[in-house]
Amino acid sequence: MNQAVLSLRGVTKRFGGLVAVNAIDFDVRQGQVLGLIGPNGSGKSTTLNLISGALAPTSGEIGLRGVSIGGLRADKIAKRGVSRTFQLVRLLPGMNVEQNIIAGAVFGHRRRWGAAAKAEAARLAERVGLAGKGHMAIDQLTYIDSKRVELARALAPDPKVLLLDEWLAGLNPTELQVGIELIQSLREEGRTIILVEHVMDAIRSLCDYCVVMSSGTKIAEGTPAEVLSDPEVVRAYLGDEDA
C-alpha cells in the first residue's frame, strides 16, 4: 500500500456543547475515492470543513502528505492542494461561467493567469460538459450546470485531494447518471477524492472505500459492500429514517 495522501487522527469539532465530529480517524490513499457517508447531521460536511480549513478542529491532527494542515487558513490549505465543492452550490453571481472557472485557476495549488488560465478554463468546461457555455451568466444555468461550474472551478487548481459534498444530490435520474459518469471519469484520471454522498448507487459504483459516520463518530469502515451490509450502519440509517 502506498502512503496516505490525507490522514485524520482523532479529529474533533465541538460547537458549544455539541460534538459534531468526534475523534475521527481515517486515511485516504493516492488515487482512492473514499466515500464519507452517514445519516443527516452525522458530521460529514463538518469533517470536510475541517479538512478544507473552513473550520478549525477543536483537537486532532489532519495531515496532507505528512504535513500538518489542521487549523490552517482555507487559502493556505487550498494552495497546498485541497479543493472542494459545497453542499449548497456556491458560485460567483457577478461573473460568467468562464470567469467562475478561472477563479479557481489563479490563486490555488497550481496557478495560471491570462491566456493560460483561459485555456485551462475552456478545457475544464469541456471536461465537465459545459462546452460553449463559457459566456453564460450564472442565473441562466440549470441546476446540474451550476454544479458543473463548481466542479470545474474545484478542478482548476489541479488539486491533490478533491472534496465533493453531495455533488450528486438534487439531480433527476437522467442527470444523476450523467453525474456518476463524470465522477467516474475523474476517478479514472487518478484523482484522490472524498465523496460525501447519500445516493447508494453512486456509493456502490464510485467508492473504493467507505467511512460511515453517525452522530459525529465513525461507526464503520470498509468496502461499500462491507459497510452497507453492516448491521450497525443499517440501524444508523433506519434510525434516521424513523426520526
Binding site: 478544507s52 480549513g53 473552513a54 487558513r73 482555507a74 487559502d75 487550498a78 494552495k79 479543493s83 472542494r84 459545497f86 456556491r90 458560485l91 460567483l92 453571481p93 457577478g94 461573473m95 478561472i102 477563479a103 479557481g104 489563479v106 490563486f107 490555488g108 495549488h109 496557478r111 493567469w113 472551478r153 487548481p157
Partner: protein
C-alpha cells in the same frame, strides 16, 4: 489591448488635457469649481477602488484626508510640498493598514462604524494635543496658487485612474471581485482575503491622505473640525454610489453633476444642503442602485438589443 480600451485611453488623455488646461481659460469661479470636482473625483474614485468590489462601506475618508491636511500643515515650513504629498500617502497607507488589519476580518457593519469612529477619534486626539499646547489651529501659508493646487489634483486623478486600471487587470483586482461575490469561495480558491482587502484599502487611504495634503494650502487655516469633518466621508460615498462603483469611470459621472448642483444649492439655499444629500441618497437606493454608470449601460444594452432586432 482591445479597441474599446484604446478608445478609452484616447478619451481619457483628451479629458485630462482639457481638464489640465482649465486654469488657462477658466475664470476664478470655474477654477474653484474645478478644484471641488477634481478633489471629489480623486476621493470617490479611490474610494470605489476598494468599496466597489468588496462592498465594504468605508466612512474613513475624512480620517485620511485630515491626516494629509495635517501633514502639510505641520511640515510645509521645513519640507517641499511634493515630499509632503508623498509622506501623506505613506502615512495614509500605514493608517489604512492598521485599521484594515484590525477591522477587515469583521463583518461589514462593524467596519462601517469603526471607520466612522476613526475620523472622530483622530480629531479628538488632535484637539486634545492642541489644548495641551495651547494652540487652536494651524496657519498654512504657502505661495501655491489655486491653479497649482488644481493641477496637482488633476495629476493625482490621472494617477488614480492609471492605478485603478492596472489593478482592474491584475490578479489583485480579480481576487477582490471574487471576494466581493463570495468570500468563502475566495478563501477556498487560495486567496488570502485579509491581505487583498488590506492592500486595496491602503491604496484608497493613501490617495485620500495625498488629497488632503494637496488641499491644505487652500484652507489657509486648518483646525480639526474642518480637516476631519464627517460630512466629507458621506459626500464621497454618495457621489461614488451615484456614479456607480462597478466601473472605474463610474464615480466621476456622479461627482460632476453632484458637485455642480451642490455648489448651486449652497450658494443660494445654504440651509438645504443636507436635505439635498439626503434626497440624492434616497434616489440612489430606490431608483439607481448601480448608479449612473449602471443606467448608461442599461440604455446602451437596450439600444443594442433594439438594433439587433430591427
Amino acid at each position: 489591448m482591445s479597441s474599446t480600451e484604446i478608445q478609452g485611453f484616447v478619451f481619457a488623455a483628451l479629458a485630462l488635457l482639457v481638464a489640465g488646461a482649465l486654469p488657462y481659460f477658466g475664470s476664478d469661479y470655474v477654477l474653484s469649481l474645478g478644484i471641488s470636482i477634481a478633489m471629489f473625483t480623486v476621493l470617490a474614485t479611490s474610494w470605489a477602488l476598494f468599496s466597489g468590489p468588496t462592498h465594504y462601506i468605508s466612512l474613513a475618508t475624512a480620517a485620511f484626508f485630515g491626516l494629509g491636511t495635517y501633514t502639510t500643515g505641520l511640515g510645509f515650513e521645513s519640507l517641499p510640498i511634493w515630499s509632503l504629498i508623498i509622506l501623506a500617502g505613506v502615512l495614509g497607507a500605514v493608517l489604512a493598514a492598521l485599521v484594515g488589519l484590525a477591522t477587515l476580518r469583521l463583518s461589514g457593519v462593524y467596519f462601517v462604524i469603526f471607520t466612522l469612529g476613526l475620523a472622530e477619534l483622530i480629531r479628538q486626539v488632535i484637539t486634545w494635543g492642541q489644548n495641551m499646547t495651547g494652540q487652536k489651529g494651524l496657519y498654512v501659508l504657502t505661495d501655491l496658487t489655486e491653479a497649482h493646487l488644481y493641477q496637482m489634483l488633476v495629476a493625482l486623478a490621472a494617477l488614480v485612474f492609471l492605478v485603478g486600471w492596472l489593478i482592474g487587470r491584475s490578479r489583485l483586482g480579480f481576487a477582490l471581485r471574487i471576494i466581493g461575490d463570495d468570500e468563502t469561495v475566495a478563501a477556498h480558491s487560495g486567496i488570502n482575503t485579509a491581505q487583498a482587502k488590506v492592500l486595496l484599502f491602503m491604496v484608497s487611504g493613501a490617495v485620500a491622505a495625498m488629497t488632503g495634503a494637496i488641499l491644505a494650502p487652500r484652507y489657509i487655516y486648518i483646525e480639526p473640525s474642518l480637516a476631519f469633518t464627517p460630512l466629507l466621508s458621506f459626500q464621497v460615498v454618495i457621489m461614488a454610489l451615484l456614479g456607480g462603483v462597478h466601473r472605474l469611470w463610474g464615480p466621476i459621472v456622479g461627482v460632476i453633476p453632484f458637485t455642480l448642483i451642490l455648489e448651486t444649492i449652497s450658494a443660494n439655499f445654504p440651509n438645504q444642503v443636507t436635505l439635498f444629500i439626503g434626497i440624492v441618497f434616497l434616489v440612489i437606493v430606490y431608483f439607481i442602485p448601480r448608479g449612473f454608470a449602471g443606467l448608461i449601460e442599461t440604455v446602451r444594452n437596450w439600444s443594442a438589443w433594439r438594433e439587433a432586432r430591427s
